[in-house]
């Protein structure tokens, strides 16, 4: 069976991150911990970050959710490593714009993450994709205060 719309949503790179998540687990020695959930569907993420001298040195996540939310979390942890706080928050905002189908600032190199643009056509699933990024933003913004 073939369904083009589904193929747009579930791109192979997304399925790959879902089935083989990167940075899965709890970071030992993390100094930022964030728990976030999506109350309408029950998705949860437990994100641990190690932030030193304004730089996100390491990131890991654990969670329960659909392929979109878990693949998005896996991709986000890859992207955020090595970024400074400002860049990380900027990326979270740019990702949110991407999900809303808005023009995305080209200064952020999303690479494979752009596979998630298909989600924008599935309004009920946008929150699945943005949950990990919102968690990251909250953790980093909270840490800056």
């Amino acid at each position: 069976m073939k369904n083009d719309k589904l193929d747009q949503l579930y791109r192979s790179v997304i399925m790959d991150h879902y089935k083989t998540p990167r940075n899965k687990g709890v970071l030992e020695g993390s100094n930022v911990t964030i728990d976030m959930n999506n109350p309408t569907c029950g998705d949860v993420i437990h994100l641990t970050l190690q932030v030193e001298d304004d730089i996100v040195k390491d990131a890991k996540f654990e969670g329960e959710g659909c392929s979109i939310s878990m693949a998005s979390a896996s991709m986000m942890t890859q992207l955020v490593k090595g970024k400074n706080k400002e860049e990380a928050i900027f990326a979270a905002h740019a990702f949110s714009d991407m999900m809303l189908g808005k023009e995305v600032d080209e200064s952020v190199d999303f690479g494979d993450i752009e596979a998630l643009t298909g989600v924008a056509k599935f309004p009920a699933r946008i929150k699945c994709a943005t949950l990990p990024w919102k968690a990251m933003e909250k953790g980093i913004a909270g840490d800056s205060e």
Partner: protein, 406 residues
């Protein structure tokens, strides 16, 4: 099985969704509306719309007659002894809140017990949590059996002489379980407690007789039984309602208004502050007439057959887990499940892309999800307009999802 021509009464079903004929399997969230209900609403707004209980002009009289006629329809539907016992509300949630806020605040003291179960919908949990917090009462949960049913022994064990309110759903919106409300009511009464019944999932599917059940309060929603959204009803025994204070104050519900004090209308109007949900009540009455014309026994039988067929088909899929009673005759038209390796949201999206509407998530039952030890589930719910072909389409969709996520 019911005559499949029933589908023709539901204009919404005659459409394609994402390129496929719509298969609607989300009636436990809200049912679709037959032409007869849509026409009743249209007729009211086209010819009779007016405010009620103000008497003088003709339209006002017609609207009042229809609105109060709807109350009589609900009375007969529940076999209540008087229309004084039927209060129109916005739905089941509003009705349960009314009981907690009015009866609860007046009758519950510190240390008293309120008993519910793990299978309750949030609307039959949170009003009691709030009441317990405000009064210092204890909220107790009755555990479920492994197959998601209630044991009368455990229900009985949970009750003590401090138990003042027992509130339970008649039919579970997740497990499909039909609870033995009549027997539970008897036990509650032995302890001097009042019995509250959340009949949101029962009213669309099974005959309800409040006098036979002997429950003290019972609530249901119109939109789940082919009626409009925003309307439901609360049944309460007359003596209890008489003694209760309204929770909403304003127009419509008053008898005499002074500068510093006012008095209320008699039952049931003292609980219906503000311009009531006139069109909603008329539409709900049309819906009740409609499902009664088909027959609740026939609807229940139809759902049993569909659920039995669906469960039998689904069990042929490897990695499927179905929650709730294994015996289809013990369930209403609900099958909640998980397919290994496919998250319910992904499953719902795959099905939606094939024109099939199911619910995915916690179904407003987070404590039950915790009890089942899952974060989310998928749910297919059936009603009078569903057919075995709908189940076949669901099966095709499930196989596709399995293939996709392998």
């Amino acid at each position: 099985m019911l005559n499949p021509d029933i589908r023709n009464d539901f204009p919404i079903l005659d459409q394609e969704v994402n390129g496929y004929p719509l298969v609607y399997l989300d009636s436990a969230a809200t049912s679709q509306k037959p032409r007869q209900v849509i026409e009743a609403l249209e007729h009211y707004y086209k010819y009779d719309n007016s405010n009620v209980h103000r008497g003088v002009h003709t339209l006002g009289n017609r609207a009042t007659e229809d609105y109060e006629g709807a109350r009589e329809t609900v009375r007969k539907f529940l076999n209540a002894s008087s229309t004084k016992e039927i209060v129109f509300t916005r739905g089941t949630t509003t009705a349960l809140n009314l009981i907690a806020d009015s009866y609860g605040r007046a009758n519950i003291a510190e240390g008293d017990e309120i008993i519910i179960t793990y299978m309750e919908h949030h609307s039959n949990i949170i009003p009691w949590q709030q009441l317990a917090k405000a009064t210092g009462a204890v909220l107790k949960y009755v555990d479920l059996e492994e197959d998601g049913t209630l044991s009368l022994e455990k229900v009985s064990d949970a009750m003590t002489d401090r138990t003042k309110i027992v509130s339970m759903m008649y039919v579970s919106n997740v497990l499909g379980t039909m609870n033995p409300i009549k027997e539970i009511t008897e036990i509650a009464h032995v302890h001097g407690a009042v019995m509250v019944v959340d009949a949101a999932q029962a009213a669309p599917h099974i005959e309800i007789d409040v006098q036979d059940l002997d429950c003290d309060f019972l609530a249901f929603s119109g939109h789940k039984l082919c009626g409009p959204t925003g309307i439901g009803a609360l049944y309460g025994k007359k003596a209890l309602l008489e003694a209760m204070e309204p929770t909403e104050f304003g127009g419509e519900m008053i008898d005499f208004v002074g500068l510093y004090d006012s008095t209320w209308k008699e039952l049931p109007w003292k609980f219906e502050g503000g311009t009531p949900i006139i069109a909603g009540a008329i539409g709900m009455a049309a819906a009740i007439d409609y499902i009664q014309s088909i027959g609740l026994d026939a609807i229940e039988q139809h759902e049993h057959e569909l659920v039995a067929y669906a469960m039998e088909q689904m069990r042929t899929l490897e990695g499927i887990e179905i929650y709730g009673p294994r015996d289809a005759s013990k369930r209403a038209g609900i099958v909640t499940f998980n397919l290994e390796g496919v998250h319910p949201h992904d499953l719902a999206t795959v099905l939606d892309m094939n024109g099939i509407a199911v619910r995915a998530g916690h179904h407003c039952c987070q404590p039950l999800m915790k009890w089942l030890d899952v974060s989310a589930t998928a749910r297919a719910s059936f009603y009078l307009y569903n057919t075995k072909e709908d189940v076949d389409r669901l099966m095709e969709g499930l196989r596709m999802a399995k293939e996709y996520f392998q």
